[in-house]
């Protein structure tokens, strides 16, 4: 398509401006292509991965064997054939093994081969010693490395002989190309089911020949391809005769070998006989020598015994001596003891006396003290007395003084009286003289007047004062001259004389008192002297006592000295005795040594005797042995001769060897992988159709809108002269480029994501390698073609109509699509109640049919995907729970080593005690079912018709009706088995084991989820198989209050128990395996989200651009943001609701379809969708819708109101 540069520019600008629309096309194409390519490529990727793995590990093409095995030479012959890359002999044996916790399991042992059937380490290391092994990493965990696997005692001896060791140490975990699937096969041992495989170095086996040889041809082919089938067919023509030849050669070789061995055996026999005879003779000689030895020994012993007797006598003498010495010593000792007693006694006495003396002394001291005490008052009294005496003396002196004073006073008084008398006489004389003087004076005075004035004045004062003086003296004299006064004085003197007389009397009295006191004092002094005399006499007595006591003390001192000297003597004696005793002890030790020696001698003699006895017994045993050996020898020779004869017969009877060539199609993993990997292909066909349909719708609506929007532009271009092709090229490029980019992204994304997720989920069942991705160019071309058809094709259809119009018509605005009444308006009852905002929405919804369908298909697809995703989980997740809660309702399954008998049952009951709520026994075994021309391994449960199994095994139809126990010749099988092999009630099936088989009528089909089971009664089994039923299994209910694991452990400890399985553990284990499903559900949810988003986004986008004028007008009218949003998005919500409801129905069928396509061997799905899953699906759909509306809300907000002013173009 040629486009001008301007047109290119315009196109790119267009893409840039309408990025959302462009991306919507891109994304929906990517989603569709991703789903389509991803799912389609998944099988290819899985097969490629497995093929690469098998090629790398050199997975065999042929597994050949003969009934007589193969040897190295024959394997080399195979290897030398044309086209053979490698041929290697290998060992393969099944064995019952015990793990370290005594669990019994059946394991298949293989030898490691170098060039074919490689193994890959998942942990640990490769074995280096023949007693090291690698184990199945599917069955064992890393924690088992280092533990040992022991071959059980229950193995057949012949089987055990194939192994070089009893125990093998686990050194590594491996996956093997022989076992890519989880199934490990069946065996005749134990439960019939192999739990896992073990790889040993070839040296770990002890076998003369290989059990099989693996052949790998040089050419590699695609897995399961026709070319490979053809190739094998070609080879078969060559290899069948070859193997027959080898088988025949093998027969001859074995014959020859056997005959050689026989001859060898014969030679050995004759050699053995000669040797045996010689050996016997030697033995006889030895026996005789022994007898001689015994006799010599006896003599030696009797000599020894005599010697011993002599030494015993000597010892006894010495012992007597010792006893005597001891006796003497004891006498001595006794003496010392007596002496000590006496000494003790005299010491005691001495002590007593000493005490007495000291007491007396003490008493004396007390008396002295008393005496001293009495003496003190006496002496102080004496002192008082002498003081009183001196006082009396001083009083006498004072009295004498007083008397003297009195005498003096009397003299004075006399004097005084005399003075007085004298004075009275003198007085008169004086008076006269004075009076004389006075008269003279007065005379003089009279003379004065006659004298001159100057003299008068000088003499007159002197005369006056002289007169005065004389007069005073006269006055004084006059006073003295008073007679009364003199009388008074005389009386006074008399008085004084009187008092003097009184004093004198008093003095006399005092003198008398004094004399009396003196007399008293003298009396006291006398008494005192008497007291003192008494005290002195006491003192003399005390002094006497003291002297006596001192004497006694001296005596005691002497006695003490005597006592001390005798003590010393005694101590010396004791030391001597000690010395003597030590000597005695030494003697005793010597004697005891002597005895010991004697005893030893005796012991020696006894030992010698015992030895002798032993020798004698040995001799007798030897003799008996010799006789037995002789008998045996004869018997052995006879047996050997018979064996040789038997072998000779066997060689003669040996059947010719048969040969087998087994291809890959006998390997379970290889075969199952083909069918299991095809599952995804089935789903790959429906999902993408759906997505492409939506993609086409998205393209149509988008491009339609775009062309409509650009009518004018197209018209202009047309008018300008651009050809239709050029104009259309623009739109084709727009959608085409989106589709191509989307296709590329989707193709690679899907090719990566889907195989990865599905491979992860398959990891539950298959253990191969990490995934290899596949680029399928054919698929890429198809994807691109479909994408282009969906985009460019639909664009072309949309454009064609518009472009056919003439330019002028195009440039005129297209008449707006007329408003139309919808069906709902015919129901006024509802319509009238609607606000016309709702009316607009409903008219819009129902008017634009294309958009309506696209929306409903897209949204319903989203919901349907969600429903399917959740439904897958619902159908699978609870399988384990349903199996163990609805079908196998017992708690514990126990497998015994031997069939259960009464004794074992009793022991079982005893072990379980109260912890069990009952049990039943039955037989579980593995058999092959032939049906629909296919062979299928199943589990056979043989039930005892006399027991009630209903509470352990619920046999019911999927509808829940209980099935009766099958009658004679009848069986029940599970639904999955019946469905897969098209078996219905009333049909017959054939079960076989080894070469025996039985045909059974199907009486019912039961519900069962895990494994495939066929149930029949013991009676039927015994009749049809012709062998007794071996009840080796017990189903047990655990009592409510007992711990299931503790009970399991106690059962495991019983030696009769081979295996215990706890259903609760199984349930948990399977449940956790199912969790990988969550990943698939997540992918589905994400795809659904993508789908919903693209569809909603695109439609809303178109809706907005288409109605941009309307929206702008509404905004101009003053609608608020939320009102505008509601106006536009209400359509989305209604459409989402319609789509979601449709999606629930669609999802229901889609889920049915998907579950029908997913087929897993051994597991039957409980196809269902829980109501809550429907709810989740709807809620998630609305969640996506809400999310898109939020995003588009922004766009709505950006619509400019000026759009409303534009003209319609």
């Amino acid at each position: 398509m040629v486009m001008s540069s301007m047109l290119w520019k315009s196109t790119f600008r267009e893409i840039k401006q309408s990025m959302g629309r462009f991306l919507a096309i891109l994304a929906i194409v990517a989603l569709g292509v991703g789903f389509f390519a991803g799912l389609k490529v998944t099988k290819a990727a899985m097969v490629k991965t497995t093929q690469a793995y098998l090629e790398e590990e050199r997975f065999y093409d042929y597994r050949v064997m003969t009934t007589l095995g193969l040897d190295g030479e024959e394997v080399e012959l195979l290897a030398s054939k044309e086209g053979v890359e490698a041929a290697e002999g290998a060992y393969s044996y099944d064995a019952l093994c015990l793990e370290e916790d005594n669990t019994e399991v059946v394991l298949r042992f293989h030898s490691l081969t170098e060039d074919v059937n490689g193994v890959r380490l998942d942990g640990g290391r490769m074995p280096q010693a023949p007693d090291e092994c690698l184990v199945d990493s599917n069955f064992y965990g890393k924690d088992k490395i280092g533990e040992k696997i022991r071959l059980s005692e229950d193995n057949d001896k012949a089987d055990k002989a194939n192994f070089a060791y009893e125990e093998y140490t686990i050194v590594g975990l491996v996956r093997s190309s022989l076992y890519i699937q989880f199934e490990r096969g069946n065996t005749s041992l134990g439960t019939g089911r192999i739990s896992g495989f073990v790889y040993l170095l070839p040296e770990g086996f002890d076998s003369d020949y290989f059990t099989e040889a693996y052949v790998k041809f040089e050419e590699d082919f695609d897995l399961y391809s026709d070319a490979y089938e053809d190739f094998l067919e070609e080879k078969e023509a060559e290899w069948e005769p070859l193997m027959d030849e080898i088988a025949a050669g093998r027969y001859d070789k074995v014959q020859k070998l056997s005959r050689e061995k026989l001859a060898e055996a014969r030679q050995e026999l004759s050699d053995g006989r000669a040797e045996g005879e010689k050996e016997l003779a030697d033995a006889r000689k030895e026996l005789e020598d022994a007898k001689q030895e015994i006799e010599d020994g006896e003599k030696e012993l009797s000599d020894g015994r005599k010697e011993l007797e002599d030494s015993r006598k000597l010892l006894e003498e010495k012992e007597q001596e010792l006893a005597d010495g001891e006796k003497a010593l004891e006498a001595q000792e006794r003496k010392i003891v007596n002496g000590e007693d006496q000494l003790a006694k005299s010491t005691a006495q001495w002590e007593e006396q000493n005490t007495t003396v000291e007491n007396a002394l003490a008493e004396l001291e007390t008396q002295q003290a008393q005496l001293d005490a009495q003496r003190v008052p006496l002496e102080s009294q004496q002192m008082l007395l002498s003081t009183a005496a001196s006082q009396l003396d001083s009083s006498a002196v004072r009295l004498d003084q007083k008397e003297y004073t009195l005498n003096l006073k009397e003299i004075q008084l006399d004097q005084k009286e005399r003075d007085l008398d004298y004075r009275i006489q003198n007085h008169e004389a004086e008076k006269q003289r004075l009076q004389e003087q006075l008269r003279q004076l007065e005379e003089r005075e009279g003379q004065l007047e006659t004298l001159p004035e100057e003299q008068r004045e000088l003499l007159s004062p002197w005369i006056v004062s002289r007169k005065q003086e004389i007069q005073n003296a006269l006055a004084a004299l006059e006073q003295d001259q008073d007679p009364e006064q003199a009388e008074e004085q005389r009386e006074e003197i008399a008085k004084e004389r009187q008092s003097l007389e009184d004093e004198r009397k008093e003095l006399a009295k005092e003198r008398e008192d004094l004399a009396k006191q003196k007399a008293q004092l003298e009396e006291g002094g006398k008494q005192l002297e008497e007291g003192l005399a008494v005290i002195a006499s006491y003192q003399a007595q005390i002094d006497e006592g003291r002297k006596q006591l001192e004497d006694a003390s001296a005596q005691l001192k002497q006695a003490k000295e005597v006592i001390e000297s005798s003590q010393k003597q005694l101590a010396d004696g004791k030391v001597e005795i000690g010395r003597a005793r030590a000597e005695l002890a030494a003697g005793r030790v010597q004697i005891e040594d002597g005895w010991k020696e004697l005893e030893e001698g005796e012991q020696e003699i006894a030992d010698g005797e015992a030895e002798l006895e032993e020798g004698r017994v040995q001799y007798e045993d030897g003799l008996r042995e010799y006789e037995d050996a002789y008998k045996d020898f004869l018997q052995e020779i006879a047996d050997a001769e018979e064996e040789i004869d038997d072998a000779e017969r066997a060689i003669a009877d040996m059947e010719p060897a048969e040969s087998y060539i087994l291809g890959r199609n006998t390997n379970v993993g290889y075969v199952c992988f083909e069918s299991d990997s095809s599952i995804v292909d089935g789903i790959a066909n429906i999902f993408p159709v759906f997505f492409f349909a939506v993609a086409a719708l998205v393209c149509i609506t988008t491009m339609n809108r775009m062309v409509e929007e650009q009518r004018t532009q197209i018209g202009v271009l047309k008018a300008l002269g651009y050809s239709e092709g050029r104009i259309m090229g623009k739109y084709l490029f727009y959608s085409g480029s989106a589709a191509v980019i989307g296709c590329v992204l989707g193709f690679f994304g899907g090719t990566w994501l889907f195989p990865k997720v599905i491979w992860t989920a398959y990891g539950m069942m298959y253990k191969v390698d990490t995934l290899l991705y596949v680029f399928d160019w054919k698929l890429a071309v198809i994807s691109l073609a479909v994408s282009c058809a969906c985009s460019i094709g639909t664009t072309w259809l949309s454009c064609r109509y518009e472009l056919s119009e003439v330019a002028a018509e195009l440039m005129r605005p297209k008449a707006p699509k007329a408003g139309k009444r919808v069906l709902l308006e015919r129901v006024p009852f509802i319509w009238k109640r609607l606000k016309f905002l709702y009316k607009v929405s409903y008219r819009n919804i129902f008017r634009y049919k294309k958009r309506f369908f696209m929306m409903v298909i897209g949204i319903s697809g989203c919901t349907a995907l969600l429903v399917t995703g959740f439904g897958i989980k619902d159908s699978i997740a609870n399988i384990a729970h349903d199996q163990f809660q609805l079908v196998q309702t017992y708690d514990l399954g126990v497998t015994f080593v031997d069939p259960v008998d009464d004794a074992l049952e009793a022991k079982l009951k005893e072990t379980m005690g109260e912890r069990s709520a009952g049990y039943v026994i039955l037989q579980e075994k593995s058999m092959d079912m032939l049906a629909d021309e296919r062979i299928k391994s199943i589990n056979l449960l043989v039930l005892d018709e006399n027991l009630d199994y209903s509470s352990y095994l619920s046999l019911h139809t999927p509808q829940g009706e209980t099935l009766p126990v099958p009658g004679r010749g009848e069986c029940i099988l599970n639904k999955k088995l019946a469905d897969d092999y098209h078996i219905e009630t009333g049909d017959t099936i054939e079960l076989q084991e080894n070469n025996r088989s039985m045909t059974l009528k199907v009486s019912g089909v039961n519900e069962n989820f895990i494994y495939n089971y066929v149930y029949l009664t013991a009676q039927t089994y015994e009749e049809l198989m012709g062998e007794a039923v071996e009840y080796k299994t017990a189903y047990i209910h655990v009592a409510e209050d007992a711990d299931v694991h503790l009970l399991a452990a106690s059962l495991m400890r019983m030696e009769e128990v081979a295996n215990v399985s706890v259903n609760a553990d199984m349930e948990e284990r399977l449940g956790s395996m199912m969790q990988s499903l969550d990943l698939i559900v997540l992918v589905v949810i994400l795809c659904a989200a993508g789908l919903a988003f693209i569809v909603l986004y695109n439609l809303t986008n178109i809706n907005i651009t288409e109605r941009i004028r309307e929206i702008a007008t509404i905004k101009v009218l003053g609608f608020y943001r939320h009102e505008t949003e509601a106006y536009v998005f209400r359509e989305n919500i209604v459409l989402t609701l319609i789509g979601a409801l449709a999606g629930l129905v669609l999802g229901h069928f889609l889920h049915r379809f998907v579950m029908g396509e997913i087929r897993v061997d051994m597991i039957a799905f409980n196809v269902r969708i829980l109501p809550v899953s429907f709810l989740y699906s709807v809620l998630l759909t609305f969640g996506f819708s809400w999310f898109v509306n939020r995003i588009m809300g922004k766009k709505l907000d950006d619509v400019s109101m000026t759009e409303s002013l534009k003209s319609v173009d």
Binding site: K839, V840, T1113, V1116, G1118, L1205
Partner: protein
């Protein structure tokens, strides 16, 4: 502020990326309440920008715009929406009716979001569409559609009626009829009506004529000699 509507020094510059396009500068005019005003000018003179600003559909770069004493130029987005909702009635050149709603429903669409709407069917009868209430826009002629649009604007009972080239898409006679309705609305109901047109002939029927040229008002004239619509010819 005596005037009902007043523009003061309004300036508007459109910015698209690096490019600045001046649309208006120093626009000043006033319109009295109840007037029939015609804003006239050539294409690109800035009429529509004035309309957008007055109608609350666009903001301005500088200056002030008042309506009934409220400063519209200070409103935010939310307030502008409320303003459009309650105060403005819009009549578009291309009617802009919702195609999916009938004539009556189109009017109700506007009426139902208002505080005191007029009766929708009555308004439609008033504009002479009493018989066509239940018709969809596609079933109406251009003039009828424009009358529905006017009815839609009137039903909101707005403060002013803004008309953008109401006759632009109509033929001569129909255009006249529409103008008659607008004039009657103004005269009889006392509504302020602002008509934006490039048609000089319409100035004759206006109370006030504002002439816009090169992004500014060049003339504002009060028309003393009002002519009836019927007598106008162009």
């Amino acid at each position: 502020m005596g005037a009902f509507v007043s523009f003061e020094h309004v300036k508007k510059i459109y910015r698209t990326g690096e490019v600045e396009i001046p649309a208006l500068h120093d626009v000043n005019f006033e319109i009295e309440k109840g007037e029939f005003c015609v804003i006239v000018g050539a294409s690109g003179a800035g009429k529509t920008t004035i309309l957008n600003i007055l109608g609350g559909m666009d903001t301005l770069t500088e200056g002030h715009v008042y309506l009934d004493g409220q400063e519209i130029s200070a409103y935010d987005k939310q307030k502008l929406t409320t303003y459009r909702r309650y105060d403005i009635g819009f009549v578009f050149q291309f009617y802009n009716l919702v195609q999916n709603l009938t004539a009556l429903e189109n009017v109700e669409l506007a009426a139902q979001i208002c505080r005191e709407p007029l009766d929708a069917s009555q308004v439609l009868k008033d504009v002479g569409l009493g018989e066509r209430l239940q018709n969809f826009p596609a079933q109406l002629s251009g003039g009828e559609q424009q009358r529905v649009a006017i009815a839609r604007a009137l039903a909101k009972n707005p403060k002013i009626l803004l008309c953008d080239e109401p006759t632009g898409a109509l033929d001569y006679n129909t255009g006249k009829a529409v103008l008659k309705i607008l004039q009657d609305t103004c005269r009889q109901k006392g509504k302020t009506v602002i008509v934006i047109t490039h048609n000089q002939a319409l100035t004759a029927m206006a109370d006030r004529v504002i002439t816009v040229k090169s992004g500014t008002v060049v003339k504002m004239v009060k028309n003393e000699n009002i002519v009836d619509v019927a007598e106008i010819e162009w």
